[in-house]
Structures are given as C-alpha cells and as structure tokens.
C-alpha cells in the first residue's frame, strides 16, 4: 500500500471516528499505534502513522512526538542524518514548549556527536545537551542529555568531565533509563584513564542494580577483559584446550581474523579465497569471496571490510577500488597492492598500499583526499580503529605500532623495543575497548600492552608456534591463528 493510500485510509478512519473522538485523541491513538509498530519491528507502518499525524493532524498536541519519532526513524533505520536533523529541527523550532522539544535537542546533539570527533562539533553537541538541562530541567530527557554529555566529553578527551557528567546521571537519576548506560560510560572512561579497578567496580554496578538491562552482559564482558589483565598482580591468560573452530582448507593460509561485537568470527582464508563467518554458537555462515586477501576490519556501521590486493569489499556486495592522482591530470593510478583498509568514524576510508608504502585517505565517494598521516613511507600490513577513533597502524618496515587520531596526529606508539620485549616480526594487532593493545609477532608470540604502552604480558607456549593473525572476543579473550598448527587458538 502506498503512503498516499495509507494516508487517505487513515484520514477516512479519522473522519469516521471523529464523531466520537477529538482530533487530539485520534492523533494520540495513531502515535501509540505507531510506537507499538516500532516495537514489533513493523517500521514502515510506524512511519506511515507518524507521517499521517504530521500531515493530517498538524494542529494536535501529538505532532511534536510524531516528528520526533520520524527523526529517530531516519537516524536509526534509514541512517539518513540529514532527514533526521530536519525532523528534529522542526520540533525544536515549531514546538519549543512541547514535551518533544528536549528530545529534539538531545537527538540533534547525538547527530552532531556521531558525525565527527572534531572539537568544535563536540562543543556544538554539548551545547545541545546543555540546552536540554537548562531549558527543560524537569524533563525525562535530562538524564539522557547528561549521559550524552559524558560521551561527548570522553570523545573530546576530557575524561574528568565525562566522569562527572556520567556520575550525575546515576546520582541524580539513579533509576532512569540512562543510569546503566552512564555507569557503563563512567566505567569506560575510568578504564581509559588507566584506572581499571574503579572501572570494574563501575561496570559491576550495572550487574548489581540493572541485571535485566542490555548493558549487563556487556558490563560482564568488560569486567572479564579488565580483570584478566588487572585483577591479579600479573595478567593471567590460559589456553582454552577445548576451543575448536573451523576445519579443512578454511584453516589454511589464513590471512586475518575478526571477531564482531555479536561474537561472529570471520576467518579470511586465501586457500578458499573467502572470508568465512562462524557464529557465536560455532555454526558457519555465508562466506564472502575474495582473492589475495589482506586484513579485516569493521566499518563504523558494523559492515565487514575485507581488504584484497586490488580492492576493498565493504559489506557483502560493495566492492571498492581506489586510485590516486598522478602527474598526468585525469589519469589516476589504481592501487594494486592493498594490504589493509579501515573506515574512520567520519566515513573516510584509509587504504594502506604495500607497493607505494603509503596510507591514502579517500572520502565516502572514494575521492582521493591525500596521504595519511604524512608523506613518510610505511609498510603497513594491518590497521584497525580503536574505540576512541584512534587509527592503529602496524608498520612492518619499522616493526612498530603507531596510533594516530583522525587528523593524523600521533597519539602513542609501541616501538620495536621496550621494557621487557622486542618486536621481531609483528604481523597483526588488535585493540580492546579500553585501548589495551594486543600484538601478534611470528617469533615473540602474543604481546599485550597497556594503554600507556607498558608490556602487561607476553603469551607463549608450546601450543603457540607461529602466530600470524589475531582478534579479540568481546570479553577480551584472544583468538590467534597459528600458521604451523593451522588452527585458531583461544586464550581466555
């Protein structure tokens, strides 16, 4: 049924019902139904209801709520920030006294925050969140705005402010929906600040007070990951002898591993010329073909990025190739030895080429934007983006790991040599949400570094002979591909 017909039907129904109910009541009915549709996953029906309110019941007191729902739909379902912004701005401008207005400011801030990590934009988002607190102090959106402020401060690197904003949520609104999220945020910030034990206590608050919330299992993963590293005087990893995944050719010539937050393990095997997924319960899913596979990464939206020599596959169908400008105008040179690629939170694609020894930046339309982070040559075989938007780069040429921000500023590095370790043949790198860095070295085994660059532990043992790829599961367990054993090992 087209939207127009639906509208007509809704209006007809409305006029029929009008003998008994007021337009306000009818609009409220449509709104309630729309929200029920949303919960049931009937997204289109929900959107039709909301649009009907906006077009057919524009004078009722449900319009602001309908616009808010439309904005959320555009933001969360259609992933269309421009349309979402348009809807939220309508609420803020046309209905500044409505219940929906603080929600609109909240979402406008969230849209800005999601768009970039640039300081000015973060400030802009913070201003939106502050507006919610200042103009609508009694609104249910205040704790959400406070929580979002905490996230914004974290993104800006202002950890103390982030902790304060987050703590205000559970101090002043301990039973709001935002409270468990705020605990999580504070725990996360404390971990980033190098305070893992207070971080664990903060995560544990979610387990104790919000057992049924969606944050509780995530908190358990975070505590587990932190406790493994910081719970005892020395980190403790144990090889999980019972762990077994994949079989046959899939486990031959494995180039990369990637575990998604949902627990799906992707194995990039050049032997079977595919990237093969295994679900959390160990079942193999639909594979993605690829030749001369390199690294794997996750795009900000959750899509798999599989680098191959000539291009990068984004999700199951989108294959992108990249070219850089040459001296001859209009004659670009394609990249032919792609070794790694990542997508930044702002949507730029960073592509490392083994032949040119450079990382190139491309915009979402694959337009060349320049070199990253600078013009120095690097033999980059692995890249990943940490939870804070840092670009982690493994340079085999210098046998080191460097972390840059999106603008190319060096944030920290793991040099070839340091206290208690030396990198010989680093092959893969992974970072957990708390910025602990895990490095696979063909000769040195698995090395785990704190966010401050200190070696926490070196994993080795008879079962680990030649690691060539690694990834982390959500609870911080290390999954390593051993080239000699042709199997994936798990250290938990």
């Amino acid at each position: 049924m087209t939207r127009g017909i639906l509208l007509a039907v809704a209006l007809a129904a409305a006029s029929f019902a009008s003998a008994q109910t007021s337009p306000d009541q009818q609009a409220r009915g449509l709104l309630d139904d729309g929200r029920t549709y949303l919960k049931e996953g009937k997204l289109k029906q929900a959107l039709d209801n909301f649009n009907t309110i906006v077009s057919g019941f524009s004078a009722t007191d449900s319009v602001d709520d309908a616009l808010l729902e439309i904005g959320r739909y555009q933001m969360e379902v259609e992933k269309n920030p421009d349309k979402a912004r348009e809807a939220f701005e309508q609420v803020a401008k046309r209905f500044p006294q409505s219940d929906g207005a603080p929600g609109a400011y909240f979402y406008l801030g969230m849209l800005t925050l999601a768009r970039t990590a640039a300081a000015a934009e973060i400030e802009d988002a913070l201003a939106q969140f502050a507006r919610v607190q200042r103009l609508y102090p009694g609104s249910e959106w205040v704790p959400k705005a406070l929580y979002a402020s905490a996230t914004a401060h974290r993104k800006a690197g202002r950890f103390q402010e982030a902790v304060e904003a987050g703590r205000r949520v559970f101090l002043e609104y301990p039973n709001s929906d935002a409270a468990p999220a705020a605990h999580f945020e504070v725990g996360h910030v404390l971990a980033l600040m190098g305070e893992p034990r207070p971080a664990m206590e903060e995560y544990q608050q979610i387990r104790n007070r919000f057992r049924g919330s969606e944050w509780a299992p995530r908190a358990l993963d975070r505590i587990t990951a932190l406790y493994r590293l910081y719970g005892s005087p020395k980190p403790s990893f144990a090889a999980d002898s019972s762990y077994s995944i994949g079989a046959g050719d899939i486990l031959k010539d494995v180039r990369a591993l990637l575990m998604t937050p949902a627990g799906t393990l992707w194995i990039a095997s050049d032997k079977v010329k595919s990237v093969v997924p295994y679900g959390a319960e160990g079942k193999m899913g639909a594979s993605v073909p690829g030749v001369d596979l390199g690294s794997l990464a996750l795009a900000p939206g959750g899509d798999l990025l599989a680098s191959a020599r000539l291009g990068v596959r984004v999700g199951p169908r989108d294959i992108r190739s990249f070219a850089i400008p040459t001296d001859k105008p209009g004659v670009p040179e394609p990249l032919e030895r792609i070794q790694a690629a990542v997508m930044t939170p702002a949507g730029s694609m960073l592509v490392a080429d083994g032949k040119k020894k450079h990382i190139y930046r491309f915009d979402p339309r694959q337009q060349y934007q320049g070199l990253f982070p600078d013009g120095n040559e690097r033999d980059v075989t692995r890249m990943t983006v940490d939870g804070e938007g840092g670009i982690v780069v493994l340079d085999q040429g210098t046998r080191s790991v460097q972390v840059f921000d999106e603008s190319g500023r060096l944030l920290r590095s793991i040099p070839t040599r340091g206290a208690g370790y030396e990198l010989h043949r680093p092959v893969d790198v992974a970072v957990d949400p708390c910025r602990n860095l895990y490095l696979a070295d063909r000769e040195a085994g698995i090395l785990v570094f704190s966010p401050q660059g200190q070696l926490l532990i070196a994993l080795s043992g008879p079962e680990l002979r030649r690691p060539t790829a690694l990834t982390l599961d959500p609870s911080g367990a290390v999954l390593v591909y051993d080239e000699k054993a042709e199997r994936v090992l798990r250290y938990k």
Binding site: V163, L171, E172, N175, Q204, N208, L220, Y227, K492
Partner: protein
C-alpha cells in the same frame, strides 16, 4: 392485712404542698412523642407565650381568644390519649389564665368553668397567693374544694407503687393527696410482693386512708465486701454495687470472718431474688472475680458471708524504638520509655506510647502476677483528611471513594492510619483561609504557608503525615489520586488508584510499608562478576571493614555464602542484605592453595536515599527519617537521617530546606572515610549552587574536595573529592 380509713381534713393543706414532691418520686417512662404532637406542642407553646403577653398587657380580655385556641387544640390531643406532661402543663396554664381573665372582666361563671376544667385536669393544681390576687385564689380554691377529696396510703414495707384507676399516683408511704371525688380502684404494687387491689369511694372534701401489709413473694440477699465498690452480678445481670461503711454492730461479725472492718462495705441488698439457685459474681477492677452460688428457698432476707476480694495485679515493661516516648495506659500518663510499671491491674488495657515521631498502640490482656514485656516500635501516624472533587461532576463519587479509600488504606502496617477529625482540620485550614484542595500539588499554595499549616495540623492531630485524595474530572469516576504529604514538607507524592478495586491499592500500600533506613548490612567486600571463575573474585577489601578484619584479600574467589553457591555478585549481596548488623555469615573462598572458610560479622554502612527513585514515596521516606532524627538526637543515625532528609528535600526541588538540613548534617556527621562531613559539604555546594549562592557553593565544594576519603551513596561508593573538584572548577 388491715384497712384503716381515717378522716384527715386538717392535714389537707400540708398534703397539698407536698403533692408535687410525692409525685416526683416515680419517674414515669415517657413514650416518644410523634412528630405531629411535637409540632403541635411547639405551636401551642408559642401561643401560650402570646396569650401570656396579652394577658399581662392592657387589653387582658384579648388573651381569652388565644387561650381558647390553646384549649381547643390541646384537648384534641388529649382526647387521642397522646398529651404529654408538658402538654398538660400548658393546658393547665391556659385554663388558669383564661379563668383569671374571665374573672377580671367580671364573667365569673366563665371563670368557674375554666377553673373547673383545670381541677379536673390536675386536681393537685394550686394558684399561689403571692403572685395572684387573693380574691381569685379564693375563688379558685372554692371551686376546687367542691371537686376534690384526699387519699393517703401506707404499706409495710413502704416503697410500693399506688395507682388510681390505672393511673400512677405515688409511692408509699404518702400523706393525703388531692384527687377528684369519685369511685376508684386502688392498686398497690411492689417488686417481690403480692399486688394488692382495693375499691374506694372518695367524697369531696373527705380524706380516705389505706394501710396495707404486703405479702412477700421474693427474697433479698445482703452482701458485705472488702473493699467496697464491688459490682455484684446475679445470673449475669448487674444488680448492685457495694458501698458505704460497715455499721458498728456488724464489725465483730466481719472481723470474725477475717476481714478488716474499716475497709469493708455497708451491708448491701440485692432484692427480688426468685426462689431457686442463683450464680453471684463479684467483680472489681484490679481484683480477682469471685463466683458463688446461693440457694433461695423461701421469700426472706439472706445474709451472705462477708467477702474479701483478692487483688489481681500484673507488671508491664515497655521499651520503645526510639526511647523516651510517653506512656499512657488506658489514657493515664505513666512516664516515659523504657519503664517497668508495677501494680497494673489485670485485665484488658490500651497501651499508647507516644513520641514526637509517631506512636505505638496496642490492646493487651494481663493475667494476675503476669510480667509482660512489650517492645513498642514507634510508627509515624498518617491522618486521612478526606476526599476532594476536582470537578462538580466528581462530587457524587466522594462519599463512596472516602469509604473505599479508608477501608483499603487501613491495611497499611508501617504507619498508624487514622481518619482526621473533620472539625479540627477545618478549624486549622479556615484560620489560614485554606481548603483541603490547597494541600494538593498544583493548587498554587505558598510553600511556606503550606509548611506552616501542615506542621500545625500535625501538632494538633499528633500525626507525622497526611493523606488527601482527589477525584479528577473523569467520565467513569473510578480514579482517585492519593496525595501523601509529610508534615512540614511542601510537595505531596501522588499515586493514582482505581478506588473501587482493592487490588489497585496493593502497590501503594507496599510502597508505604517500605521502611526507609539509613543503614544497610555491610561486609566491605567488593566482588565482581567475570567469565573467568566459578564464583566471584574479590576486587577490593574496604579498610577497617569486617572483610578486612577477617583478613580477606583481593583475588580470592568467593564461591558460597552460608552454604549457598555464589555465581554472581548479586547472589552475595542478596544473602548479605537479609542479615542484620552483628549477624554472622559463613563465606567459602577458593584460591590457589585450595578452599578456606571465613566467618564474617556483619557490620552496617550508612547509605543515601537515591535522589530520584520512582519506587519510593519520598514523603513516607521523610516521615521515617524524621523519626530517626527526632528519636535519636545527637546520634550518628540521626546525622545520616538528616543528610537523607536533605536529599529528599532536593528531590522535591526544595533547596532551601535541603540547605537547612545540610548545615546541621555537616556539623553532626563524623569526619572519617565513607559517608561523612565531606558528603554533606558536597550536597551543600549543590544546594547553594541551585539557590544562586555561587561563592558559598564554591566554598562548600572546596571543603568537599578536601575530604579525600568521603564518599557518595555509601561507604563503598565513589569518592566525593574528584566530583567536588570538578564542580568547584566549573
């Protein structure tokens, strides 16, 4: 029995004067008046007033018409047999005044008619010479003498009822009374004696005398008790109470029976006992009840054996939480708790223990020599102020809602729920020109006035909080909003119920019955959940805590509490939350070197009330906290309660009240790690900031930032210092 008739003309005048006295001896039971008769009486009363005014005026003759109307109307009632004594009085006065009015205008025949009617109505009626002309009085008396004779009756024993033609005359013995001359049947009745009947002819101006010896048919029993004032029940009916002092001649008898004559009662009669067996019970407060059986074989007097009543006392030991509460036993003030009260009479008593923060109420039955200890938990009292309708349409449901709400809220156990006396509430509200609606949020009442009024009402009603219900404008008229308001607070908690459905109150009652405490059980053991272990690893041990005292260390894995497995921290917390301070908990740990058991003695940690917790009724929480503050002044518990009162005030946005509480809490709270002075300083900064005192807020934040070990929430909570520093900086 003999009959003696005597002429007694000389005494007639004396008898006349005594007649009203004699008539007053028999209190005649009056049948209830019908509405019509009452109305008629009221009307003729007015007429009499008018007629009397006319009579005393210059045109006395005009009054005759009025008296005629009175006579006509009351005679009509009299003919129906429903004329009450007051009606007879009015009729008699009307006859008298009409007669005098006729006499004064020279119509003596008419006057005689009226006086004749008067004497026939009331033969003992007299007209005083002091107020009325002697001529008129003589004229009246001459008419009366021609109409009346006299009768005198005496009986052995006296006290018998005498009726003439079925109409009560007097109790024997009486002097001659005036009666209309004529033929009479005289009936003499006395309980316990055979009824005697005589026929008698009374001539005008003559006196007839009857002397009758009554024949006994029932018995009497006589009792002496030590002490006096003992209620005597015969066959379950109270018949007498011993009283007075023992007559001298009985002293030897009583002494011989082992009683103390000076404490013994007079010989007290219980008359009219039928022949046969009777159960007699002797009851006196604070004494053991005695039961005896007496056999009445013939109609005579029986003297029973003097009886000494044994005292029956018990003792009460009353303790209260908080102590220092005033004790009332059956309304009598008996000191303050804790107290042991000796010599309390056995039997049923109402114990009331009152404190500024609430009261305790219980009925007890004490046995002789029993020593009863009662713990008296003081509960705040909640006064129900009634139901208000928010619209005219809702007014119809008010009474039903009132009844249902009282019925359902009476099930609250954590508070004394009572219905406030309407007049007291109205008086206090009227004095401030407020109504019940003014107490409901949104009424726009000045908060300071609201605070003042609720405090006044609380003092008058001896309660700590109020509940008022409102009926919103609603088609179905099912919803009632319950507004719970602590005395001295300015914003009520609102809760909607479907007032007709008992189930609808359950959640509200449950929330009211939650008791807010400033402490919770505490071990100081901080554990976390991981996917790495079977149990939960210890992350931190709070210094000075029971866990630290037991030597527990981070890294140990807690696997069981009191024999129950601990799979996640929530299991451990749940087990501890069910314990009290000083309880023991058996913890089992697994470590590298095997398992070990540790016994912890549970301590307690102060805890904050969450600032916004939907499952709390903050006004009820405030009532509980005030109980701590007022019940244990100067204690740490009171200081923590004060801090939480401030948080409650902040919950309602009442930062001025919060500030007041925090200033006190700051000086009362200890200076030590955990919830302490630094905590109060932090919140003081928040309150001052909200009130717009930025400089003072900054000082408070700086003070909090300096309190390095102070925490929020509880002793395991986050540090205040970092938060305060940030606030100070911003």
């Amino acid at each position: 029995m003999s009959r003696l008739v005597v002429r007694w003309g000389r005494l007639a005048g004396l008898a006349f004067l005594l007649a009203p006295l004699a008539g007053a001896q028999e209190p005649a039971a009056q049948p209830p008046l019908s509405e019509a008769v009452q109305k008629e009486l009221g009307s003729v009363q007015d007429l009499l007033a008018r007629g009397t005014a006319e009579f005393e005026g210059s045109q006395q003759s005009r009054s005759i018409v009025v008296f005629d109307e009175i006579v006509t109307r009351l005679e009509a009632v009299r003919r129906q047999g429903t004329l009450p004594p007051r009606g007879r009085e009015i009729l008699a006065q009307a006859f008298e005044l009409r007669g005098r009015a006729y006499y004064n205008i020279g119509l003596q025949e008419k006057a005689a008619d009226s006086f004749r009617s008067l004497v026939q109505l009331s033969p003992q009626y007299g007209i005083s010479r002091e107020k009325v002309s002697p001529k008129v009085v003589d004229y009246f008396n001459s008419i009366k003498k021609a109409l009346v004779g006299y009768i005198a009756v005496s009986t052995k024993p006296p006290g018998a009822r005498v009726s003439l033609n079925g109409e009560f005359l007097s109790l024997t013995d009486f002097f001659p009374l005036e009666v209309l001359a004529g033929e009479y049947t005289v009936e003499i009745v006395r309980d316990g004696y055979q009824t005697e009947t005589r026929s008698l002819s009374i001539a005008s101006r003559a006196t007839e005398t009857l002397q009758v010896e009554l024949k006994r048919t029932l018995a009497s029993a006589f009792f002496i008790t030590e002490p006096a004032a003992v209620d005597i029940f015969v066959d379950g009916q109270q018949r007498a109470t011993t009283a007075g002092a023992l007559s001298p001649e009985l002293i030897p008898v009583v002494r011989a029976k082992g009683l103390e004559p000076s404490r013994a009662s007079a010989r007290t009669e219980v008359a009219n006992l039928s022949l046969g067996s009777h159960v007699v019970e002797f009851r006196k407060k604070c004494h053991e009840t005695v039961r005896k059986t007496i056999e009445v074989l013939e109609p005579r007097d029986y003297d029973t054996e003097p009886l000494r009543m044994e005292e029956s006392l018990a003792s009460l030991r009353l303790r209260s939480d908080p102590p220092g509460a005033r004790i009332f036993v059956d309304g009598e003030a008996l000191g303050v708790t804790p107290k042991e009260i000796e010599g309390v009479c056995s039997g049923k008593h109402r114990i009331e223990v009152k404190h500024a923060s609430g009261k305790f109420l219980q009925d007890v039955v004490l046995e002789k020599n029993e020593s009863v200890t009662i713990d008296c938990p003081i509960r705040p009292s909640l006064a129900f102020l009634g139901v208000v309708a928010e619209s005219a349409a809702a007014e119809g449901a008010q009474s039903d809602a009132d009844e249902k709400i009282v019925q359902n809220l009476s099930k609250i156990t954590s508070l004394n729920f009572l219905v406030a006396p309407r007049e007291t509430v109205d008086r206090i509200l009227d004095a401030e020109r407020l109504t019940r609606k003014s107490l409901i949020p949104g009424a726009g009442t000045d908060p300071d006035l609201l605070r003042k009024v609720t405090e006044k009402m609380a003092a008058a009603l001896e309660v700590q909080g109020f509940l008022i219900a409102s009926l919103p404008e609603e088609k179905l008229r099912r919803t009632a909003s319950l507004h719970l308001l602590a005395a001295g607070n300015t914003v009520a908690d609102r809760w909607n119920v479907t007032f007709t459905e008992a189930a609808s109150y359950l959640r509200f009652n449950e929330m009211v019955n939650q008791h807010a405490t400033v402490y919770r059980p505490w071990t100081g053991l901080v554990t976390v959940d991981t996917l790495l272990h079977e149990g939960v690893p210890v992350l931190r041990v709070v210094p000075g805590s029971p866990a630290a005292q037991a030597g527990l260390q981070p890294g140990e894995i807690l696997v069981a509490v009191d024999g129950k497995p601990v799979k996640q921290t929530a299991d451990f917390l749940s087990a501890i939350s069910q314990k009290k301070a000083k309880d023991r908990a058996a913890l089992l740990f697994r470590g590298a070197s095997g398992t070990r058991s540790v016994e912890l003695i549970i301590a307690q940690t102060p805890q904050e009330i969450p600032l916004n917790e939907p499952s709390l009724l903050y006004n009820k929480v405030m009532m509980d906290l005030r109980q701590q503050v007022e019940g244990y002044p100067g204690s740490e518990a009171a200081a923590y309660a004060r801090l939480n009162l401030a948080i409650c005030a902040m919950h309602f946005g009442d930062y001025a009240a919060a500030h007041e509480h925090l200033l006190k809490a700051k000086s009362e709270l200890p200076q030590r790690p955990g919830i302490s002075q630094g905590t109060a300083l932090y919140y003081l900064g928040v309150a001052l900031e909200r009130l717009g005192y930025k400089k003072e807020a900054l000082d408070a934040y700086r003070g909090a930032a300096a309190a390095k070990d102070a925490t929020l929430f509880n002793n395991d909570g986050p540090a205040v210092a970092a938060l305060a520093s940030r606030r100070a900086a911003s």
